[in-house]
Protein backbone atom coordinates (compact mmCIF):
# COMPACT_ATOMS: atom_id res chain seq x y z
CA UNK A 1 0.00 0.00 0.00
CA UNK A 2 2.78 2.44 0.88
CA UNK A 3 4.66 1.45 -2.24
CA UNK A 4 1.59 2.22 -4.37
CA UNK A 5 1.21 5.64 -2.80
CA UNK A 6 4.88 6.41 -3.27
CA UNK A 7 4.62 5.52 -6.96
CA UNK A 8 1.49 7.68 -7.33
CA UNK A 9 3.19 10.63 -5.62
CA UNK A 10 6.32 10.35 -7.72
CA UNK A 11 4.31 10.00 -10.92
CA UNK A 12 2.22 13.05 -9.94
CA UNK A 13 5.33 15.16 -9.45
CA UNK A 14 6.70 14.04 -12.83
CA UNK A 15 3.30 14.67 -14.39
CA UNK A 16 3.16 18.18 -12.92
CA UNK A 17 6.51 18.91 -14.49
CA UNK A 18 5.45 17.43 -17.82
CA UNK A 19 2.21 19.39 -17.86
CA UNK A 20 4.19 22.63 -17.74
CA UNK A 21 5.55 21.77 -21.21
CA UNK A 22 2.29 23.46 -22.22
CA UNK A 23 4.13 26.70 -21.49
CA UNK A 24 6.04 26.38 -24.77
CA UNK A 25 3.03 27.24 -26.94
CA UNK A 26 2.01 30.51 -25.26
CA UNK A 27 5.68 31.48 -25.04
CA UNK A 28 6.13 31.20 -28.79
CA UNK A 29 2.76 32.82 -29.46
CA UNK A 30 3.31 35.77 -27.15
CA UNK A 31 6.81 36.31 -28.50
CA UNK A 32 5.43 36.35 -32.02
CA UNK A 33 2.71 38.82 -31.01
CA UNK A 34 5.23 41.06 -29.25
CA UNK A 35 7.50 40.98 -32.29
CA UNK A 36 4.63 41.96 -34.58
CA UNK A 37 3.66 44.72 -32.15
CA UNK A 38 7.23 46.04 -32.22
CA UNK A 39 7.10 46.05 -36.02
CA UNK A 40 3.78 47.86 -35.92
CA UNK A 41 5.10 50.50 -33.51
CA UNK A 42 8.13 50.94 -35.78
CA UNK A 43 5.84 51.53 -38.72
CA UNK A 44 3.30 53.72 -36.91
CA UNK A 45 4.78 55.18 -33.71
CA UNK A 46 1.73 57.42 -33.20
CA UNK A 47 -0.55 54.37 -32.66
CA UNK A 48 1.62 53.01 -29.84
CA UNK A 49 -1.11 53.10 -27.19
CA UNK A 50 -3.65 51.19 -29.25
CA UNK A 51 -1.08 48.66 -30.41
CA UNK A 52 0.14 47.99 -26.88
CA UNK A 53 -3.33 47.48 -25.42
CA UNK A 54 -4.37 45.24 -28.32
CA UNK A 55 -1.17 43.22 -27.94
CA UNK A 56 -1.62 42.79 -24.19
CA UNK A 57 -5.22 41.70 -24.71
CA UNK A 58 -4.22 39.18 -27.38
CA UNK A 59 -1.33 37.91 -25.28
CA UNK A 60 -3.57 37.36 -22.28
CA UNK A 61 -6.06 35.43 -24.40
CA UNK A 62 -3.30 33.36 -26.02
CA UNK A 63 -2.01 32.56 -22.56
CA UNK A 64 -5.01 30.42 -21.61
CA UNK A 65 -3.56 27.11 -22.88
CA UNK A 66 -0.49 27.66 -20.73
CA UNK A 67 -2.74 28.47 -17.80
CA UNK A 68 -4.57 25.15 -18.32
CA UNK A 69 -1.21 23.38 -18.01
CA UNK A 70 -0.50 25.37 -14.85
CA UNK A 71 -3.87 24.46 -13.34
CA UNK A 72 -3.26 20.76 -14.07
CA UNK A 73 0.19 21.02 -12.46
CA UNK A 74 -1.24 22.77 -9.39
CA UNK A 75 -4.00 20.18 -9.02
CA UNK A 76 -1.39 17.39 -9.19
CA UNK A 77 0.81 19.09 -6.60
CA UNK A 78 -1.60 20.62 -4.10
CA UNK A 79 -4.98 18.89 -4.51
CA UNK A 80 -4.12 15.52 -5.94
CA UNK A 81 -7.29 13.51 -6.61
CA UNK A 82 -5.27 10.27 -6.95
CA UNK A 83 -4.09 10.30 -3.31
CA UNK A 84 -6.80 9.74 -0.72
Amino acid sequence: MEMTEAIVRAASAVGAGLSMIAGIGPGIGQGYAAGKAAEAVGRQPEAKGDITSTMLFGCAVAESTGIYGLVVAMILLFANPLIK
Binding site: F57, A60, E63, S64, I67, Y68, L70, V71, M74
Partner: protein, 243 residues
Amino acid sequence: MNVKGPEILFEIPVLGGIPITETIFNGWLVVAAISIVCFFLGRNLSVRNPSKRQIVAEKLVLTLSGLVENTMGKNNMFFLPYIGALFSYSILSSLSGLLGLRAPTGDINTTVGFALIAFFLIQFFNIKNKGVLGWLKGFTEPVAFLTPLNIISEIANPISMAFRHFGNIASGIVITGLIYGALAGLSKVVLGWIPVIGSIPFLQAGLPAILSIYFDVFTSFLQAYIISMLTMVYVGSANEANQ
Protein backbone atom coordinates in the same frame (compact mmCIF):
# COMPACT_ATOMS: atom_id res chain seq x y z
CA MET B 1 7.48 25.54 1.35
CA ASN B 2 4.63 27.78 2.35
CA VAL B 3 1.99 27.50 -0.38
CA LYS B 4 -1.52 26.96 0.91
CA GLY B 5 -5.09 27.42 -0.14
CA PRO B 6 -7.35 29.90 1.65
CA GLU B 7 -7.89 28.87 5.27
CA ILE B 8 -11.22 28.84 7.09
CA LEU B 9 -11.11 31.69 9.61
CA PHE B 10 -14.38 31.13 11.48
CA GLU B 11 -17.91 29.88 10.96
CA ILE B 12 -21.19 31.76 11.04
CA PRO B 13 -23.47 29.58 13.21
CA VAL B 14 -26.46 29.70 10.84
CA LEU B 15 -27.82 26.76 8.81
CA GLY B 16 -25.33 24.33 10.32
CA GLY B 17 -22.36 26.67 10.10
CA ILE B 18 -21.30 28.70 7.07
CA PRO B 19 -17.50 28.60 6.82
CA ILE B 20 -15.89 32.01 6.22
CA THR B 21 -12.60 31.59 4.40
CA GLU B 22 -9.80 34.09 3.94
CA THR B 23 -11.16 34.70 0.45
CA ILE B 24 -14.54 35.89 1.69
CA PHE B 25 -13.11 37.91 4.58
CA ASN B 26 -10.52 39.68 2.41
CA GLY B 27 -13.26 40.23 -0.16
CA TRP B 28 -15.26 42.07 2.52
CA LEU B 29 -12.22 44.21 3.27
CA VAL B 30 -11.86 45.04 -0.42
CA VAL B 31 -15.55 45.92 -0.70
CA ALA B 32 -15.24 48.14 2.38
CA ALA B 33 -12.18 49.86 0.89
CA ILE B 34 -13.97 50.48 -2.42
CA SER B 35 -17.05 51.82 -0.60
CA ILE B 36 -14.99 54.21 1.51
CA VAL B 37 -12.99 55.47 -1.49
CA CYS B 38 -16.15 55.98 -3.55
CA PHE B 39 -17.88 57.72 -0.64
CA PHE B 40 -15.03 60.20 -0.18
CA LEU B 41 -14.59 60.78 -3.92
CA GLY B 42 -18.30 61.42 -4.38
CA ARG B 43 -18.81 63.96 -1.60
CA ASN B 44 -19.22 67.75 -2.02
CA LEU B 45 -19.28 67.77 -5.82
CA SER B 46 -19.74 71.15 -7.46
CA VAL B 47 -19.99 72.35 -11.05
CA ARG B 48 -18.42 75.80 -10.57
CA ASN B 49 -15.20 75.17 -8.66
CA PRO B 50 -14.31 71.46 -8.64
CA SER B 51 -11.81 70.32 -6.02
CA LYS B 52 -8.77 68.20 -6.83
CA ARG B 53 -10.58 65.16 -5.46
CA GLN B 54 -13.49 65.76 -7.80
CA ILE B 55 -11.16 66.01 -10.79
CA VAL B 56 -9.65 62.63 -9.89
CA ALA B 57 -13.13 61.12 -9.56
CA GLU B 58 -14.25 62.60 -12.90
CA LYS B 59 -11.11 61.33 -14.63
CA LEU B 60 -11.70 57.79 -13.32
CA VAL B 61 -15.35 57.73 -14.31
CA LEU B 62 -14.72 59.26 -17.74
CA THR B 63 -11.90 56.80 -18.52
CA LEU B 64 -14.08 53.85 -17.62
CA SER B 65 -17.15 55.13 -19.45
CA GLY B 66 -15.04 55.83 -22.53
CA LEU B 67 -13.75 52.26 -22.45
CA VAL B 68 -17.25 50.81 -22.06
CA GLU B 69 -18.64 53.05 -24.82
CA ASN B 70 -15.86 52.11 -27.26
CA THR B 71 -16.20 48.40 -26.58
CA MET B 72 -19.94 47.86 -26.08
CA GLY B 73 -21.56 50.76 -27.87
CA LYS B 74 -23.71 53.67 -26.67
CA ASN B 75 -26.83 51.60 -26.00
CA ASN B 76 -25.05 49.27 -23.58
CA MET B 77 -23.93 52.01 -21.22
CA PHE B 78 -26.13 50.55 -18.46
CA PHE B 79 -23.31 48.02 -17.97
CA LEU B 80 -20.98 50.76 -16.74
CA PRO B 81 -21.67 50.20 -13.01
CA TYR B 82 -21.16 46.45 -13.30
CA ILE B 83 -17.94 46.78 -15.29
CA GLY B 84 -16.67 49.39 -12.85
CA ALA B 85 -17.47 47.16 -9.89
CA LEU B 86 -15.85 44.14 -11.57
CA PHE B 87 -12.71 46.08 -12.47
CA SER B 88 -12.24 47.72 -9.09
CA TYR B 89 -13.00 44.54 -7.13
CA SER B 90 -10.66 42.48 -9.29
CA ILE B 91 -7.76 44.93 -9.17
CA LEU B 92 -8.00 45.71 -5.45
CA SER B 93 -8.36 42.00 -4.64
CA SER B 94 -5.22 41.16 -6.57
CA LEU B 95 -3.32 44.12 -5.14
CA SER B 96 -4.32 43.15 -1.59
CA GLY B 97 -1.68 40.42 -1.95
CA LEU B 98 0.87 43.22 -1.57
CA LEU B 99 -0.39 43.87 1.97
CA GLY B 100 0.23 40.26 2.95
CA LEU B 101 -3.41 39.24 2.62
CA ARG B 102 -4.27 36.22 0.53
CA ALA B 103 -5.65 37.68 -2.69
CA PRO B 104 -9.36 36.77 -3.11
CA THR B 105 -8.79 36.43 -6.86
CA GLY B 106 -6.17 33.76 -6.11
CA ASP B 107 -9.09 31.49 -5.22
CA ILE B 108 -10.89 29.75 -8.07
CA ASN B 109 -14.30 30.39 -6.46
CA THR B 110 -14.03 34.16 -6.93
CA THR B 111 -13.04 34.01 -10.58
CA VAL B 112 -15.65 31.34 -11.34
CA GLY B 113 -18.14 33.80 -9.86
CA PHE B 114 -16.98 36.51 -12.27
CA ALA B 115 -17.14 34.09 -15.20
CA LEU B 116 -20.58 32.73 -14.29
CA ILE B 117 -22.03 36.25 -14.13
CA ALA B 118 -20.67 36.87 -17.63
CA PHE B 119 -21.98 33.49 -18.84
CA PHE B 120 -25.52 34.08 -17.57
CA LEU B 121 -25.54 37.64 -18.94
CA ILE B 122 -24.53 36.29 -22.37
CA GLN B 123 -27.25 33.62 -22.34
CA PHE B 124 -29.84 36.09 -20.98
CA PHE B 125 -29.20 38.62 -23.74
CA ASN B 126 -29.11 35.91 -26.41
CA ILE B 127 -32.53 34.65 -25.25
CA LYS B 128 -33.88 38.19 -24.90
CA ASN B 129 -32.79 39.26 -28.38
CA LYS B 130 -33.44 36.05 -30.34
CA GLY B 131 -36.24 34.42 -28.33
CA VAL B 132 -35.98 30.94 -26.81
CA LEU B 133 -36.36 29.16 -30.16
CA GLY B 134 -33.87 31.41 -31.89
CA TRP B 135 -31.42 30.89 -29.03
CA LEU B 136 -31.76 27.11 -29.33
CA LYS B 137 -31.50 27.32 -33.10
CA GLY B 138 -28.28 29.30 -32.74
CA PHE B 139 -26.57 26.14 -31.46
CA THR B 140 -27.30 24.22 -34.67
CA GLU B 141 -25.60 26.77 -36.91
CA PRO B 142 -24.03 26.53 -39.39
CA VAL B 143 -24.66 22.76 -39.64
CA ALA B 144 -26.80 20.60 -37.32
CA PHE B 145 -24.11 18.03 -36.51
CA LEU B 146 -21.89 20.76 -35.04
CA THR B 147 -24.31 21.18 -32.10
CA PRO B 148 -22.12 19.39 -29.50
CA LEU B 149 -19.12 21.50 -30.51
CA ASN B 150 -21.16 24.71 -30.23
CA ILE B 151 -22.34 23.74 -26.75
CA ILE B 152 -18.78 22.89 -25.68
CA SER B 153 -17.43 26.19 -27.00
CA GLU B 154 -20.19 28.04 -25.14
CA ILE B 155 -19.23 26.30 -21.89
CA ALA B 156 -15.48 26.69 -22.53
CA ASN B 157 -15.74 30.50 -22.49
CA PRO B 158 -16.46 30.95 -18.76
CA ILE B 159 -14.05 28.14 -17.85
CA SER B 160 -11.17 29.76 -19.70
CA MET B 161 -12.04 33.20 -18.26
CA ALA B 162 -12.07 31.83 -14.72
CA PHE B 163 -8.90 29.77 -15.10
CA ARG B 164 -7.00 32.61 -16.76
CA HIS B 165 -7.56 35.05 -13.92
CA PHE B 166 -7.15 32.43 -11.20
CA GLY B 167 -4.04 30.92 -12.80
CA ASN B 168 -2.25 34.23 -13.17
CA ILE B 169 -2.80 35.34 -9.58
CA ALA B 170 -2.32 31.89 -8.04
CA SER B 171 0.89 31.30 -10.01
CA GLY B 172 2.16 34.58 -8.54
CA ILE B 173 1.36 33.28 -5.04
CA VAL B 174 3.02 29.92 -5.73
CA ILE B 175 6.15 31.41 -7.29
CA THR B 176 6.50 33.96 -4.47
CA GLY B 177 6.19 31.14 -1.92
CA LEU B 178 8.79 29.04 -3.75
CA ILE B 179 11.22 31.97 -3.94
CA TYR B 180 10.82 32.76 -0.25
CA GLY B 181 11.50 29.11 0.59
CA ALA B 182 14.52 28.98 -1.72
CA LEU B 183 15.98 32.21 -0.31
CA ALA B 184 15.51 30.99 3.26
CA GLY B 185 17.39 27.80 2.39
CA LEU B 186 20.11 29.74 0.59
CA SER B 187 20.72 32.16 3.44
CA LYS B 188 20.91 29.17 5.82
CA VAL B 189 23.64 27.69 3.62
CA VAL B 190 25.58 30.95 3.37
CA LEU B 191 25.44 32.21 6.98
CA GLY B 192 23.94 29.28 8.88
CA TRP B 193 27.16 28.59 10.80
CA ILE B 194 26.93 31.86 12.79
CA PRO B 195 24.85 31.20 15.95
CA VAL B 196 22.30 34.07 16.08
CA ILE B 197 22.61 35.87 12.74
CA GLY B 198 22.41 32.57 10.87
CA SER B 199 18.76 32.11 11.84
CA ILE B 200 17.74 35.34 10.04
CA PRO B 201 16.88 34.68 6.36
CA PHE B 202 18.62 37.90 5.27
CA LEU B 203 18.41 37.10 1.54
CA GLN B 204 14.61 37.39 1.71
CA ALA B 205 14.95 41.19 1.75
CA GLY B 206 15.02 42.89 -1.62
CA LEU B 207 14.70 40.32 -4.39
CA PRO B 208 11.05 39.28 -3.74
CA ALA B 209 10.06 42.97 -3.91
CA ILE B 210 11.40 43.29 -7.46
CA LEU B 211 9.60 40.11 -8.52
CA SER B 212 6.36 41.23 -6.91
CA ILE B 213 6.36 44.32 -9.15
CA TYR B 214 5.76 41.94 -12.03
CA PHE B 215 3.76 39.20 -10.33
CA ASP B 216 1.55 41.41 -8.20
CA VAL B 217 1.32 44.90 -9.68
CA PHE B 218 1.58 44.27 -13.44
CA THR B 219 -0.41 41.03 -13.45
CA SER B 220 -3.12 42.58 -11.26
CA PHE B 221 -3.65 45.51 -13.63
CA LEU B 222 -3.51 43.29 -16.71
CA GLN B 223 -5.89 40.63 -15.40
CA ALA B 224 -8.43 43.18 -14.15
CA TYR B 225 -8.32 44.83 -17.57
CA ILE B 226 -8.58 41.47 -19.37
CA ILE B 227 -11.53 40.14 -17.40
CA SER B 228 -13.55 43.34 -17.73
CA MET B 229 -12.62 43.59 -21.42
CA LEU B 230 -13.65 39.99 -22.12
CA THR B 231 -16.91 40.46 -20.21
CA MET B 232 -17.62 43.59 -22.25
CA VAL B 233 -16.76 41.93 -25.57
CA TYR B 234 -18.80 38.76 -24.95
CA VAL B 235 -21.82 40.47 -23.41
CA GLY B 236 -21.68 43.30 -25.93
CA SER B 237 -21.70 40.90 -28.87
CA ALA B 238 -24.57 38.94 -27.29
CA ASN B 239 -26.50 42.20 -26.98
CA GLU B 240 -25.55 43.36 -30.47
CA ALA B 241 -29.14 43.82 -31.60
CA ASN B 242 -29.43 46.56 -29.00
CA GLN B 243 -26.67 48.62 -30.59
